[in-house]
Symmetry: C2
Subunit: 366 residues, 2 copies
């Protein structure tokens, strides 16, 4: 197991001091920034997440800020999702595509003030895309990466912990609702969202200097709740069918292939980048789709795509997998050809440690 | 020291099996791909690199392939460097900038065949920029990431090892010269280049399946030369003044600030993205510049930018630093304000472990 080498290029976050003090054991790199992956063990972190409350350093969900009179028009041009229902008290999950309909990122969009939007991104330099399109298209906007670092509070006790720090009103947020809440005289944009199925919030910490004070306040307020430092958990997110850009989907995949067709609005396909390709796929039907696959027994770490075979040929690939203690099987996310995507279909999974048997499921483990 | 967590998103390379068998101890992530950083210790790797020959997995230097009738015109639009002298037997180092003249990447450009160019990139998703500009500007090109993974052979014995595998003609390449050379019936584009000052080559391995066979062939041919698996070495690259995108320069910096002014051609500034901002900076003079700084004693790992102070105010920041056994000082790369960039200027360096003294040097340690 190799360690991660320190450099400025792999950026620390406003919460890194807290993460280190909490004994982080594993990291990944996400948007050129450190993202914790393990504190105790993946299994122990999973159990705690499902029963208590955790504070997650997800500063790596960087914001692409688009500000200016053409901001909304530009963002609508970038996504096939109809933004006419966007309101300042709601986040929106928006697929963004290249000219071929391939996914460039799967961010969350927030209205962050007058003519100002935050695109909270997954792991790709989507800022480059936005800035190039804005410049070439003469959109009157400024595109920047502001000093905003999300801190997530996740788990069944998240409402209790958040109400202690931000007041009870924060628990009134509905899923993907957002609002502004105060702590110690500082106002933060907070959403009921996060990369788990256990419920919780994301706090958009808009000043690096406030990072550790807020981190410490959450831990002080949650001591009796057994609050711990945590992070997106591989097992839990696969059980819940939460896709990871770069793992489960890449530029090779369309939103429909990723099961995100409900975020592709027919009325936008004449007007957005990639719209023509998406319309063609919608008319012809998708050739492959994200599917849950149960794999027998314990699979090795999914550090590469595993080809899926059936009837003597490749019919897809597994992109994420982990053994689930609760479901007593290896849970996996796969992209499966139409010919073999029906629930119940038996497949062979070609892992680095040998061939395993898998079965397409009708739904994720939720 | 935290380990790096396995996932498909952090891509393996065609040479990862060899890297692991050689006992890699440290990794970083570069262009969403594993890049080895340590095999023995940074100091032992450094000594070996300076005396023998190493084979480096630098597959993470991904290629942005631009192909089509408008390919050359597009690339000229993307860089302020005059490409009129580009030839198929020469690489060119090209800064690429956003509309504000900020560095987006500092790649090497290669002529890879008729109407086909490879942009061999540093750590940012420059493909997004190229594809967006191409699409918005109606350039008739295809922009892709081909199956091409550079493998570097670096060190004073690199010529000897390469001539054994590819034949003596390969040693006729001049610095940044390139050509096509054969091994076992496969032809590779090879350049005399690489991210060290010890001399050597980069082999553009254009088929994943050939990765490990070529790796093994190089090790078999170099056994008596004590060939080892290696990687870009932090100490050696700082001594040599080799900048790292994301460490020493970011979108906040212009090419001139990075000491790359000789790659900014006056005759291109009317025609390329960012040209206006670059011309303004050229006329006004740069406000800050990359400078070598010697820091007394042993500095801690440079995992963050260190502010530089003088006369009671911040006058720059250190972005890379390492203790050099050969020069018996901590060698560092810094961005220093004009007021304090003269050689001999004394500065205070604010590291995570306390304040250290530094002195601006007149040149890197070469």
């Amino acid at each position: 197991m190799a360690f991660i080498f320190p450099s400025r290029r792999v950026r620390r976050t406003p919460f890194s001091d807290g993460v280190e003090a909490a004994g982080v054991r594993g990291y990944t790199v996400y948007n050129h920034m450190l993202l914790p992956t393990v504190f105790h063990t993946t299994e122990a972190d999973y159990r705690h997440l499902k029963t208590q409350v955790q504070v997650w350093d997800v500063a790596c969900e960087r914001q692409v800020q688009v500000k200016g009179p053409d901001a909304r028009r530009l963002i609508q041009y970038l996504t096939p999702r109809d933004l006419s229902t966007l309101r300042e008290d709601r986040c929106m999950y928006i697929p963004v595509c290249d000219q071929n309909g391939g996914m460039l990122n799967d961010p969350v969009l927030l209205d962050a003030g007058p003519d100002t939007y935050w695109i909270s991104i997954a792991d790709s330099d989507f800022l480059f895309w936005v800035q190039a399109v804005a410049g070439m298209g003469n959109f009157d906007v400024e595109v920047t990466e502001p000093d905003v670092s999300p801190l997530a509070v996740q788990g069944p006790l998240a409402d209790e912990l958040m109400s202690r720090v931000f007041g009870g009103a924060v628990t009134g947020l509905r899923f993907f609702g957002c609002g502004r809440f105060e702590w110690e005289g500082h106002e933060f944009l907070i959403a009921r969202s996060g990369y788990s199925k256990q419920g919780g919030f994301e706090i958009y910490v808009n000043d690096t200097a406030l990072g550790m004070p807020l981190w410490d306040a959450l831990f002080a307020a949650g001591e009796d709740l057994q609050v711990r430092a945590g992070c997106p958990n591989l097992i839990e997110r696969i059980e819940g069918g939460l896709l990871s850009y770069g793992n489960d989907m890449t530029r090779e995949n369309s939103p429909m292939e990723c099961g995100l067709g409900r975020y592709v609005s027919d009325n936008q396909l004449e007007h957005c980048i990639g719209g023509r390709a998406l319309r063609e796929e919608r008319e012809a039907g998708s050739k492959r789709m994200i599917r849950p696959v149960a794999i027998e027994g314990m699979a090795p770490p999914s550090d590469r795509a595993w080809p899926l075979y059936a009837d003597g040929r490749q019919v897809g690939r597994v992109s994420s997998a982990a053994y689930s203690p609760d479901f007593e099987t290896t849970v996996a996310i796969a992209m499966v050809d139409r010919s073999h995507w029906d629930a119940g279909t038996a497949l062979e999974v070609d892992t680095q440690d040998g061939m395993l048997s898998g079965v397409v499921q009708d739904r994720f483990w939720i």
